[in-house]
Symmetry: C2
């Protein structure tokens, strides 16, 4: 037997790759991906949803595999011209990627909800899985830094290259969950937390009213975003000591989620730190699309085991 109703919580690159594996490992339409929108921001007048787009592009098979964000075979002519005009250069949007932001911004301005626009764009890209923003309303991830005060996530992450040390992360705005979010969790047999940054990718989702409560009665399994003490991508390895006072490790991830998790999937070797947990130790690095599928299958099988 296999899982029929699975929810994945996802941030950017790692979570998106894992969600792509899940979408291919599971029966058609069995997967709902609930995506962090705390990173969303307006750039050049466009409403940009980095994590939603990364998940959407990954599941459509059009994402850039090397860069981790944006579309494959992308060009950046518009941004070079923006630079020639003396416009902002700190955040780059690809030419084809602009189509996503243009259509979304136009639809939002016309009153369509973010979740409806997302469904429409995903449909046009031929995605079977359901991709839901965690909320239609704004919930902004703010990074409290030691040196520069509170920075909106993208200004810290991209603008300041995630260099300023982090004192705390908080979320501004308390939007209700997007339609379908709580329902999908409640109807699910399994919830998987992708290998995303817990502080800035998953915690925003968990901050949405009703999400933690809905998860409390569910089988929840996470895939560690830390392997052998390092993050595959992004600033997580530096954030863990800053925010938890402990070294970066899969154990720190497990501690962060606490009683939310029934089990955790970690890199082979990292299971030694996790003696009191249901752990699957495997190769969690997703270099290829095949890796995604393999890891998804292993995580689904592991969850089936611990359900018994």
């Amino acid at each position: 037997m296999t899982w029929q109703r699975v929810v994945a919580l996802s941030g950017g690159v790692g979570g998106a790759r894992f969600a792509d594996g899940l979408a291919r490992a599971l029966p058609r339409a069995a997967l709902t991906v609930i995506v962090n929108t705390g990173d969303d921001f307006v750039h050049l007048g466009l409403y940009v949803c980095p994590d939603l787009d990364t998940v959407m592009y990954a599941l459509a098979g059009v994402g850039d595999e090397e860069r981790g964000w944006g579309l494959a075979d992308e060009t950046f002519s518009a941004m070079r011209m923006v630079a020639r005009y003396g416009g902002p250069e700190w955040f780059s949007l690809g030419d084809r990627d602009l189509a996503t932001h243009l259509l979304r911004t136009e639809a939002l301005a016309a009153g369509e909800s973010l979740s409806k626009v997302t469904t429409r764009l995903c449909g046009a890209l031929g995605i079977d899985a359901r991709i839901l923003p965690m909320a239609d309303g704004p919930c902004r991830t703010m990074v409290e830094t030691a040196d520069q005060g509170a920075l909106p996530f993208q200004q810290w992450f991209v603008g300041a290259r995630a260099l300023p040390a982090v004192r705390a992360v908080r979320f501004e705005g308390r939007p209700p969950p997007a339609p379908g979010v709580l329902e999908a969790i409640e109807a699910s047999d399994l919830v998987l937390i992708g290998p995303s940054n817990p502080y800035v990718s998953i915690d925003p989702i968990l901050s949405i009213d009703g999400v933690r409560a809905a998860l409390a009665s569910k089988l929840v399994v996470a895939v560690s975003p830390i392997l052998a003490g390092r993050a595959v991508k992004g600033p997580l390895a530096a954030m863990i000591p800053q925010l938890s006072g402990t070294p970066p490790s899969a154990a720190a991830i497990a501690r962060h989620y606490g009683s939310l998790l029934e089990g955790i999937v970690v890199e082979r070797g990292d299971e030694r730190e996790l003696e009191n947990r249901a752990v699957l130790a495997t190769n969690i690095l997703m270099k290829t699309r095949d890796d995604r599928l393999r890891l998804a299958r292993e995580a689904l099988a592991f969850a089936m085991e611990i359900r018994r």
Copy 2:
């Protein structure tokens, strides 16, 4: 001696090419180009000013010479992606061109006026001439068609390929002239009307309050957009019979402007229809950038002659 303060009225391609010639023929900063904004429209949420952009790109030397609109060496990746999403395909915006629309739309949304944004963008592109939109507020060119009722200009021109027969052209909105428009005309020694469509490119400018009155006391010379009964580009040759009941000719252009003009520059041979007018007959087709400069110099010299 040469002209020190010249105003050019311009629509799209022809007027922009002539303005480029003028900018190079005249002393630095002697030229003010007042540009039609009746074609402006919102596409994909972006505020697009086709004529302003064509003039700006021509004077910056970055316009596409073949196509007549947009930027040289342009790519269209964003629009192909828009099409993949099922978005509107009837109006194409180049990738680099998008930078213009994005920065302008963002600035307008932040409360900057169209004329100020235009000055800023022109400055970034290194343009010495002053380029002014005819108005900061909306004045929309509406084309009354026999078959399809009233169409906004771009929907008629691009969307319907200018095929529906035109009964009348009218302008919706009565914005005041943009700051500097009347002042530039009043301070000018010479006003040149570029080889633009009189009905949809120049008449919108003339419809702005105060423009006709300011022009009445000025030396005004037009360059015919019709040569040997044909328009170089666009729907003008078909519009003249529809709107004036006479065949397309340089004489029809002269009649249209009436007493506004002191003289007209026409294609060699077309002067035969214009016996009671001050006429310069020359080669008015601008194939190369050299042609623009030559025609500009000839028009300026002709105006100097008829001023005496």
